[in-house]
């Protein structure tokens, strides 16, 4: 009888708690960060397509420059709008807590609060390169098999992330990361009051910047589910980004090549 108990116990651990024993939640989140973000400075051209009730309605395009801060291990981002024409040339600097927005029409740089990452054109917070392991503390909720947007079954760790720093964009995130590959599959973002704001799926993993990385994200507006935005990550390339770029006065001087 005892050996049967031991076998059942071993089976239950293997079935429910598999890999978690070997990986802490922080390890899992950090490994998923490495799938999304390369370790060197890079830039990408992100195309955001907004669908309203299933129909494409608007398209925005942004060039994002990202570089990890060696002191905090969090990314600093520069975001330049290229589409639509009414927003072309606007630039946002995110080097927490140093956040600025530059409009070439008024030639003025305005300091913005962390919350303003979530308003304005195309919710800049959705395109920023972020290491979640830096801003959040994770808890493993369990293991789940979920379906990804390409209708593939993915064995995932289901994690609960709570904001641990002031620079965290959302207060709470539910996160699904695939066993073995550490690919991020899905995330749910919550407001301070606990309201579900957005559901995000990654898809179209392909070789980019030396690893298999998602080429697209799908964001469902949980408040109004008829609004869906896709973000295509294109033209990724490593680029040297001097430290001087991450200050307000550099924004009007940002190179256009």
């Amino acid at each position: 009888m005892r050996w049967m108990m031991r076998v059942l116990l071993a089976l239950s651990v293997a079935g429910v708690g598999f890999s978690a024993a070997a990986q802490t939640p922080r390890d899992i989140i950090a490994a998923a960060d490495k799938v999304r973000n390369p370790g060197q400075p890079f830039r990408s051209t992100n195309t955001l397509t907004e669908y309203v009730s299933g129909q494409p309605r608007n398209q925005d395009q942004l060039v994002v420059y990202a570089k990890e801060d060696p002191a905090t291990h969090q990314f600093r981002n520069l975001v330049r709008y290229t589409e639509p024409p009414r927003d072309a040339g606007k630039i946002a600097l995110f080097s927490t807590p140093n956040l600025w927005f530059y409009d070439p029409a008024s030639k003025a740089s305005v300091r913005i609060s962390p919350q303003q990452r979530l308003i304005g054109q195309a919710a800049i917070g959705d395109v920023l390169t972020v290491n979640l392991a830096v801003d959040y503390t994770g808890t493993l909720l369990g293991n789940e098999t979920i379906t990804d947007p390409e209708h593939q079954q993915r064995q995932c760790w289901h994690l609960d992330l709570q904001a641990a720093t002031d620079s965290a964009i959302y207060r709470r995130v539910e996160y699904w990361v695939e066993h073995g590959s550490f690919r991020p599959v899905k995330a749910k973002f919550y407001s301070d009051s606990g309201r579900l704001l957005k559901i995000l799926y990654y898809r179209s993993f392909r070789e980019q910047l030396g690893a298999m990385r998602p080429a697209e994200a799908i964001i469902i507006d949980a408040v109004n589910s008829s609004l869906v935005t896709t973000i295509a990550f294109g033209n990724l390339r490593f680029q040297d980004i001097p430290e001087a770029w991450f200050q307000r006065d550099y924004l009007p001087r940002l190179p256009k090549e």
Binding site: V63, R80, P85, S113, I146, S193, A232
Partner: protein
Amino acid sequence: MRIARFAALLGFMHVAFPALAADQDQDLQFIPQAVQQAPPAAVPAATAIDTNRNYLEDAFSLTPQRGNLAVPFPSPAPSRWEDRLFLDSRDEWRLRDNLRLTYSGRFNLRAANDLDFPSHQTVLNEVREAYLTWRPVEGAWLDLGRVNLKSGVAVGFNPTDFFRTRSVVEPLTVDPTVLREDRLGTLMLRGQYIWPGGSVTLAYAPRVTQPTAIYNHIELPSFDPMLDRTNAQNRFLLKVSPELHGAFSVEGLLYQGGNRTQIGANLTASVGQRTIAYLEWAGGADAGLIQDALAYGRQTGSFPANAPAPLPADSASRFRNEVSLGFSYVPAGTRLTLNIEYHYNGAGMTQQAWHNWFAAAARRGNIPGVYNALWYIRSYAVDQQQLLSQHTAFVRAAWVDAFVPKLDITALANVSLQDGSGLTQITADYYLSRNWTVGGLASVTFGGRRSDFGSLPQAGGILLRLVRYL
């Protein structure tokens, strides 16, 4: 039995997860078919980033006017209606690796109730900027030409924006953020060096012409670059911005325009997740708004050189401060940004000065030229983009995706804290498509007949606009 119960529990645990996962898979139903079937959006091949912005706009405005003014307004009165069709351009060309050419301007065609059509007044070309930028080494730039050099961290009033004087030509709105978008630059040589520890800017704008009288809307030159507005005196600016990489930012400025020297500072602080606090200050010796206006009027021939002052004024040249103190705030669960500011202009009109202004009109209005001189003081403040009253409050709310997606609404109020009069304006812009925007604004001035805003000839305004981005 116990084993059986335990095994059953384990079995339940194993089937419970797929049940949870099935709940998660419900979210996939929200992904539209078009997205499920579409490959990732094609991203154009990496080329130079195009940030040029050109658009065609037609703006039609009505300006209801107030009757029975406390102080009669001299002619020409503001236009009752105006239609303006303009091409607004902002372009940049790369000439060499380290040499660029920038142009920014607006070509207007105007029609109004008090303008002959067609006439030379129909055409108004504003060259906002035209300059060459040379980058001799990484982090250093030299700009030569007409440059819009702006400073300041506040929204409603920028004391450190020293090159703002006389730069705005016939604005369509009183929103200060829009006023900054359409103003003339100054002919200058500007050098800037930026390194990881901060930046330093030095600018010299030469005097190339004499000061001229204040323009009115029916006497604007068609193609003249209007350098008399921007380069009628020698001006220098030194600006130093150390990079603090923290929740605070600081900037120091030293400015000299003609024989007047001012110093200034800009401070910002990030407070929590939703608030930015800021302070903008400038100070220097000055004789005060009334004295400055009358001196400028005499210098430019608007009054005889020996014309007496129409009202008593504190004309002592002493150190006077200009301040904008405020904060921006994002209320929880909204896409709204609120700015609240207090403005102080030490050179502006005190309560006593306002009393004198109205009293002079009542007592001496029968003397030719008195009304002209009194209104000239106010025109001078507008032309200089200086606050007329000493103490004002400013509130601005910008709401993105208001009520429906792609509708932006901006509301603002500018209130004199001395007499409670003010101006409110609401603007709405709806982005019909990538290239088309339709918008409108309505404004109202309020206050007693003998108050700052209540004595204006404009009771308010309505404007409708249609924009086509090219």
